[in-house]
Amino acid sequence: MTEKQVLLAVLFSSATAVLAAWLPPPRWQPRLIAAVGAALLLLLSPLSACLLGVGAGLSYLLHRRTGNSRAALVAAVVVIAATLISFMLAAAPAAKGIGGHVVLPFGLAFYALRLIHYQFEGYKGNLRGHSFDEYLGYLFMPSLLSTGPIHRFDEYLRDLRRKRWDPALFSAGCARVLYGLVKIVVLGNYLLAEVLPAQFEALAGAGIGHFYSDALQFWLKLYILFSGYSDVAVGFAALAGFRVRENFDQPFIARNISDFWQRWHRSLSSWCRDYVFTPVLSLTRSQGAAVVSSMVVLGLWHELSLRYVLWGAYHGAGIVIFRAFDARYGASLDALTGVTAALWRTLATALTLHFVLFSFYVTTAVQHWLTGG
């Protein structure tokens, strides 16, 4: 299937899930939402449908039978992570465009995180009583299957049970889907892919300008496309009566790297905070180790490679350094007023933006230095 056909299939199934969320009697709604999501997965990747089906059944059984057993949690997390890692390793050559034909099963990277979230919350005793149908509706919701945001089960269950027709939410959902499509189709796939590269080239020239141009184009395209897909997902969820976590909040105006990660792919960074940072912190009692390990996991989730280990460590180190700086100078900088405060804010935003823009250049250079490449 081409990417356009995939997008069309996701849009069609998401729209069908909206009907499934409102037309049938309430107890049928999660079942039908799950059926639409399962049909989408069967169409795009039958292997993925089987994986998610088996994962859903096993995780639900494990939660029901073992409750808050630590051994069961560890076993579940190991099995889910090992499944994701083995598929990522098999799909790595195709993803890098260097041969191989295995691709990552559609949506696996996202639903693996949802399955781990469910196991952790079950272990902590935070899951309200629910049926298997409700759980399936959560895992298989079509608009959230492929690109996130990584929705939380308790929020989904709250919305499912309190669902009332809300014209304001419905109209906001319509607008959101439309804005998302404009970002993907017009801004991302036309302006940034076809029109602007030539303008950027002409403006950039050679040398440092070329680096700037490449980094800016990469991050802009990533932001526009990813936030567009998130808008469509959040919009369709709103049409179905679900308020889903936001993924982005103007990330390029962040004033420090910690702030950046609270604005960029927020559902993933909050997942890492809850299920990597907090456990590592409770084990090691070291903020630095917890931050770096959660950023390394965040990096490895994107790609299993040395480059992404370094990229995660780079961002983790950035956050640790910022926190040390903030502990020492934060209070005096916050006390600044007038022009000095405005200048400091501008400088801090520019520094953060550059730290992010050049993250791949820096980590690729370190990787080459380490491997002698």
């Binding site: 993803a95 492929s146 690109t147 404009v182 993907i184 189709v185 892919a193 076809e194 990533l222 496309l225």
Partner: protein, 45 residues
């Protein structure tokens, strides 16, 4: 934006403006939809 517009313009006019805006966006999406997406493997996996 909606509240701001309603404070200065009659509500039916605001609704008409919104309808035109959304229709224009829909047309844009329809016009450009045939282009092949930029191949972002990262986006749906």
């Amino acid at each position: 934006m909606y509240t701001l517009l309603c404070a200065h313009l009659p509500r039916p006019l605001v609704h008409a403006l919104y309808a035109v805006w959304y229709a224009a966006l829909l047309l844009l999406v329809y016009y450009f939809f045939d282009r092949q997406p930029a191949g972002f493997y990262y986006m749906h996996r």
